[in-house]
């Protein structure tokens, strides 16, 4: 069944395809939230994947074979992910899955991954401890993201913290870790409050925050809407405490305008990273997408690097055979915009973390850099 589509049926990037005429392409399945909650960042993820594939193909492909991207919408949720994984694995018969997804979508896809034995590189930061022999993660977990923020706030003199989050796995996972880390570094948590994921009225929580006398606050809401609503209402209520936001990205910060000024964020990627690799990456993105460019971010850059990591693994293994690839995926490394990445710690990667602060013009200024932060014990059994 052939149907014309917006996002070309199979977003195949096959430059110099004549060179590979004889060889079957290596198919990379990208289940991603083109609709639903993740649809805000999904386009940037697709773009960075397209750039990686284009670059690799232009340089001769992998083992002489071209790469081909197969994109499927997972609707940012479990039901959509099941369809997307089924379609990619059984219909399009991809060799690997590389994707940024919600935790629900990832979990929904894992049974398919286990059953069909396809390597799966997950490129979204998440609440941690998702373990599967075929699953590798090149983005951060709470153990990497929270300490820089709390260390910084501690150094600024904050002793009492108020934690606010959306009631879902990521929100609770991040704040639970934040609480234990705050307490282990001598601080105190004077309040921890959650609102339903689609909740939009933070009134009562903000009043509690104001009454608590906290010296700093850390928030971890669902991305996008709740984050913006909370920030608007905080500013409306005149809250100007040191404000660390675990769930905001540069793009959302920009859309919040003046309300975002001063927010602290902790990320493994910000556009302002001063390295040759990052400059080359940003230039290549700008050249390829021009006006259509979606600002690269902490979710799209790991996608870019994961494709290179997969390339390195296939080349080292000498084939796309799942067992061979999975065996070497944690041995290979790639130096990209975020620095040198290797998923060497129980299928997770030590990462350099950047503490940034949102400026008045919406840009993020790097305040401090934390080298090679360890992901900790994520999957001791792997």
């Amino acid at each position: 069944m052939k149907i014309p589509s917006l996002i070309a049926t199979v977003t195949s990037v096959m430059l110099a395809s004549s060179a590979f005429a004889a060889d079957e392409p290596i198919r990379i399945g990208v289940p991603v939230g083109l609709s639903g909650a993740n649809s805000v960042v999904a386009p940037s993820v697709v773009q960075s994947a397209e750039l990686a594939v284009e670059e690799i193909n232009a340089a001769g492909g992998v083992l002489g074979r071209p790469l081909e991207l197969v994109i499927a919408d997972d609707a940012s949720g479990a039901a959509g992910a099941q369809k997307a994984f089924d379609s990619l694995v059984y219909q399009k018969e991809v060799d690997v899955l590389i994707s940024m997804e919600t935790s629900a979508a990832r979990n929904a896809g894992l049974p398919v991954v286990s059953r069909s034995k396809v390597p799966y590189i997950y490129t979204s930061f998440y609440e941690g401890r998702s373990c599967n022999p075929y699953l590798f993660v090149d983005a951060w977990v709470p153990e990497q993201q929270v300490p820089p923020i709390v260390d910084y706030l501690n150094a600024e003199g904050a002793k009492t913290y108020f934690l606010i989050g959306s009631d879902y796995s990521f929100g609770r996972g991040m704040l639970e870790f934040a609480r234990s880390y705050v307490e282990s570094t001598g601080g105190a948590v004077v309040g921890e409050e959650y609102l339903p994921m689609d909740g939009s009225d933070w009134t009562a929580i903000i009043s509690k925050l104001k009454a608590s006398g906290a010296e700093a606050m850390i928030t971890s809401t669902a991305g996008g809407a709740p984050n913006v609503a909370l920030t608007k209402q905080l500013r409306g209520a005149g809250v100007d405490l040191p404000y660390a936001n675990l769930a905001v990205d540069e793009g959302t910060a920009k859309n919040m305008g003046a309300d975002a000024t001063g927010i602290l964020i902790s990320a493994s990627y910000v556009t302002g990273i001063d390295s040759a690799e990052n400059k080359a990456f940003l230039d290549a993105m700008a050249a390829k997408f021009g006006d259509e460019l979606r600002t690269p971010n902490d979710l799209s850059v790991p996608q870019y690097e994961a494709i290179y990591l997969y390339k390195a693994a296939v080349e080292k293994a000498g084939s796309t055979d799942t067992k061979a690839v999975v065996d070497v995926l944690d041995d290979v490394s790639f130096t990209g915009p975020r620095g040198t990445i290797q998923m060497s710690k129980q299928h997770h990667a030590p990462l350099t973390m950047y503490l940034g602060q949102v400026q008045e013009d919406g840009s993020v200024k790097v305040v401090e850099t934390f080298k090679d932060v360890d992901p900790g014990e994520q999957c001791p059994k792997l």
Binding site: S35, S39, V40, D167, E193, Y194, L195, P196, D198, G199, S200, D201, T203, A204, I205, S207, K208, K210, A211, G224, A225, P226, N227, V228, A229, K232, Q233, R235, G236, A237, G238, G251, T252, K254, N255, M256, G257, D259
Partner: protein
């Protein structure tokens, strides 16, 4: 004191959000399931106004007009053919909500949009620093309530609408043009809802699905209130107050479902809800 302010301002916001729905429910006896879409349309009017570099206050009249026009078209094409099938009217407006949401997505993208605040900062009142905008929302709610009271009590249209609310067939027998009354009411209701969408922008994010969060709460409040604005005000105060109290003293998560659950129970116990108030 903050608690008191939280309660009245929360009630005010609930009132603003559900007033347009109530107008439609009261006269047409259908629940406009595309209510959330109109809130969203209103909020995007604020985005457009901002994009054109106009004063954010101009978004208010713009949204009212846009909402009312869109409402007029909807009433004519979708609601009117379904008067005799109220359940299908629910479904059709629900489908319309999906369509509007998708069209907004195609037009503006999924991203959260930036809107300029109508009012920012705090004011010292009753011994505490309180959000100026929330107090403004309180004033806006009172203005909308009074506006409706004037409309209903003081105009011909209001008189006719009240007649339709009381007894549809009698009103028709008396020679009232019920079709026109419903048409105009639907336009006013949707216009007002879009206006509420603008009023929400300083409080929430603006994105294609923003309306959904407000949907259930307003449905329940309107079911409880029946067709009376006074009852709606009382319902907003009681249930909004309960929401703030539950959020403050028990858990904000339970607070999020307080309005819906309490309203359902109130209606179960007394099927007229607060309509007698």
């Amino acid at each position: 004191m903050t608690l008191l302010l939280d309660i009245v301002t929360t009630a005010a916001i609930l009132f603003i959000v559900s007033a347009g729905l109530l107008a439609i429910f009261g006269v047409l006896e259908i629940v406009n399931f595309a209510h959330g879409a109109w809130l969203t349309v209103g909020a995007y009017c604020a985005v457009v106004t901002g994009g054109l570099g106009l004063s954010p206050w101009l978004a208010l009249p713009l949204a009212f007009v846009a909402g009312a026009v869109l409402g007029g078209v909807t009433e004519r094409l979708i609601v009117r053919p379904l008067y005799s099938r109220p359940q299908d009217a629910i479904l059709a407006t629900w489908g319309l909500g999906i369509i509007i949401g998708q069209l907004i997505t195609l037009g503006f993208g999924r991203d959260v949009q930036f809107t300029e605040n109508l009012l920012s900062g705090t004011i010292h009142i009753l011994g505490t620093d309180y959000s100026l905008y929330r107090l403004f929302a309180l004033a806006a709610a009172v203005a909308i309530g009074l506006g409706f009271a004037l409309l209903l009590e003081g105009t011909r249209l209001g008189l006719s609408a009240r007649a339709v609310i009381m007894n549809q067939s009698l009103a028709r027998a008396l020679g009232l043009d019920t079709t026109r009354i419903r048409f105009v009411t639907f336009m006013i209701g949707t216009g007002l809802t879009a206006l509420a969408g603008v009023l929400l922008t300083p409080l929430t994010s603006v994105d294609p699905t923003m309306g959904v969060a407000w949907l259930i709460g307003s449905f329940m409040l309107v079911m409880v209130a029946g067709s009376s604005f006074g009852a709606l005000a009382v319902a907003c105060l009681v249930f909004g107050g309960a929401q703030v109290l539950v959020s403050t003293f028990i858990s904000p998560i339970l607070g999020g479902i307080t309005v819906a659950v309490l309203s359902a129970l109130v209606l179960r116990i007394s099927s007229k809800g607060f309509a007698r108030v």
